[in-house]
Amino acid sequence: MRSYRIPQRELLSGGHLACPGCGAAVGMRLALKALGEKTILVIPACCWSIIPGPFPNSAFEVPVYHTAFETGGSAAAGISVALEVLGDRETTVVTWAGDGGTFDIGIQALSGAAERNDNFIYICNDNEAYMNTGIQRSSATPYGAWTTTTPAKTPKDRPKKNMLEIMADHRIPYVASVTIAYPEDMIRKITKAKEIRGTKFIHLLSPCPAGWRIPSEEVVHVSRLAVQARVFPLLEIEDGERYTLNMHPDPVPVREYLELQGRFSHLTDEEIEKIQNNVDREWRRLLKRTEFSSAFFHAEQR
């Protein structure tokens, strides 16, 4: 992988209220480094309604617009068109929303904005459950996971919604997945998104020590394992059809990823095998799509 210099300027100050080891705090810090100070942050209800601090404090060195839970897409659209009519072409509008605000309650407004191709970046900080309200399942919660509303005896029995594909199917110009374990990759993708007009969707897997039942020092490690076990592939999809698989790791068994996390501690060997099979199947599906995409574009170019 090519390496990129990470900008030195800090736009998230110390003294914020994130939990120790919060993956999202590292994610936000890196994202803001890529975005720079000409940014307006839009934050629908999520952990980040709390983390920057209550009135009259703010841990951000950029303007931030907190908004209602289901309005990450619509509020960003409003700000984006207002900037346009006011003649501001430099400022980047960035929604930072949780998985609940993206996969569940906010999907309508996000889909509307993406269909119109309104000009903003939408970063989904996916910690795979409603962590801010105390670890309740969302449609981003993976199969087999414990949450307070999917207790260990009846864990989540449905797979995670494939939000990246849903967004790509809106034919928006840019969709990408990132983790904090690969900061150069994350910064490159956000920088790229910044240069593109239209709706850009960035999916950030964001381990939550409290909700995933992992030690706070394991956040980066777990993020890396998610990629290496092919649970969370790093990829880019342009205009809904050009697939780029950024990493093709030698697979680490999914068991290694799951066993680090208390939220999966109730799983039997059979269930772990089932999850492994699902991960393998999804990976093959992704490879097919990537191969098809490259063959298709090769043919189109000829």
Binding site: F55, S58, S74, A77, G78, G112
Partner: protein
């Protein structure tokens, strides 16, 4: 320029004259011809604005609030169930002190599905912190929209301009469309005191803990109280510049009337006719048209209705388990007064049922014949 236009065309003209920069809206009958008209105006350049064609009313309000917070004058329009879907964001607009202006074309709330006029949709949003102004005719509609922006931007609270489904929205009337230069004189360009475009570390709509929250709410209430005076000033200034004024309420056929009929919206025109007829027959009955519902002009109500013997309130809305909403508020305005009129609360015309002169006459007749209403709700025009 004098033209024959519908209420919804009057809305679009008012929006054009106010030089709105961002429109965010979702279609709903009977509001649709507003968004159609504005789409055409944006398309042919008569209005230099961006029109966000959002996927729901909730998004319409969320986008309009956000664009206004960015510093662009913003507008939306809706009706009934669309307004109900916005409810969360109505509170948000007021709490964020955003001067967005919305037109609500009064329509009955479903279910039962009904697209006709009824004020329950807007009146049931009374506690959201929105200023509410009700219009009687299309001329008042076109004149009220620039006033609404001026009021909103002065007190930093959102304003809802309300007109009746079909009776106004789809009915063409001769209407004087002001010259935009006159409106420019009346309504200065929007300059938000705090906007997202300032390069600062400002945080909008952050968590407000108990140690501050009440003060925020206190300031909203003070702004609402100020809105009454600001509305009167705006109306007087508008009248000075354009020759038409409406006040927060209007007294009609007033002198010597011991009994007063109270109404709002388009039905007021029918009430004028009925009151005129009754006076010709020697019955002294006055009419009070309520334009402003929020802030509620309680002091003005006490001033003009105090000393009258009976007040008949015509409500085209109901608060279930209580009574007509204007009637409630008028009764409450007098509760601490030693001398107060007897208030007769009539509920009529729900879901677009025609409020005929005969219905109005029946309500007045009942009021004149009885010393006491007997009940808090007197239904007029009910079948069976």
């Amino acid at each position: 320029m004098r033209r024959v236009i519908t209420g919804n065309e009057a809305v679009a003209q008012g929006v054009r004259l106010s030089r709105v920069k961002v429109i965010s809206a979702y279609p709903i009958t009977p509001q649709t011809t507003i968004v159609e008209g504005l789409s055409e105006m944006c398309g042919d350049g008569r209005l230099e604005a961006r029109f966000l064609k959002v996927e729901s009313e909730h998004s319409a309000m969320a986008s309009a609030i956000a664009s206004c917070a960015t510093g662009a004058r913003s507008f939306t329009a809706t009706s009934a169930n669309g307004l109900a879907l916005m409810h969360e964001m109505l509170h948000w607009a007021a709490g964020a002190r955003i001067p967005v202006v919305m037109v609500n074309v009064n329509r009955a709330i479903g279910t039962g599905w009904n697209i006709w006029t009824d004020q329950t949709d807007s009146l049931s949003q009374r506690d959201t912190g929105w200023i509410q102004l009700y219009c009687e005719h299309n001329q008042e509609v076109v004149d009220t929209i620039p006033q609404a922006f001026r009021i909103a931007e002065t007190v930093k609270l959102p304003v809802m301009v309300v007109l009746d489904a079909f009776v106004l929205s789809h009915t063409a009337e001769p209407t004087e469309i002001p010259d935009i230069a006159q409106i420019d004189e009346f309504l200065p360009p929007f300059r938000g005191e705090f906007t997202l475009t300032e390069r600062s570390h400002q945080s909008f709509n952050a968590i407000v803990p108990p140690e501050y929250y009440m003060e925020f709410r206190y300031k909203m209430q003070r702004a609402m109280e100020d809105a009454k005076g600001v509305t009167k000033e705006a109306d007087e200034e508008y009248e000075r510049l354009l020759g038409r004024g409406y006040g927060v309420m209007e007294k009609y056929n007033w002198d010597g009337a011991e009994t007063v009929l109270v109404s709002s919206g388009a039905v007021t025109s029918t009430c004028r006719f009925v009151v005129d007829e009754l006076n010709k027959r020697g019955m002294r009955v006055g009419l009070l048209k309520m334009k402003m519902f929020r802030p509620f002009p309680a002091e003005e109500i006490r001033e003009v209705l105090g000393g009258r013997r009976k007040v008949a309130v015509l409500d085209r809305a109901i608060s279930f388990g209580h009574s007509g909403i204007f009637a409630q508020e008028i009764r409450a305005a007098f509760c601490n007064e030693d001398e107060r009129p007897v208030v007769f609360g009539f509920v009529t015309g729900l879901g677009g049922r025609d409020v005929t002169p005969e219905f109005i006459e029946r309500a007045i007749g009942f009021t004149l014949e009885n010393d006491h209403p007997g009940e808090d709700v007197i239904w007029v025009g009910l079948k069976g």
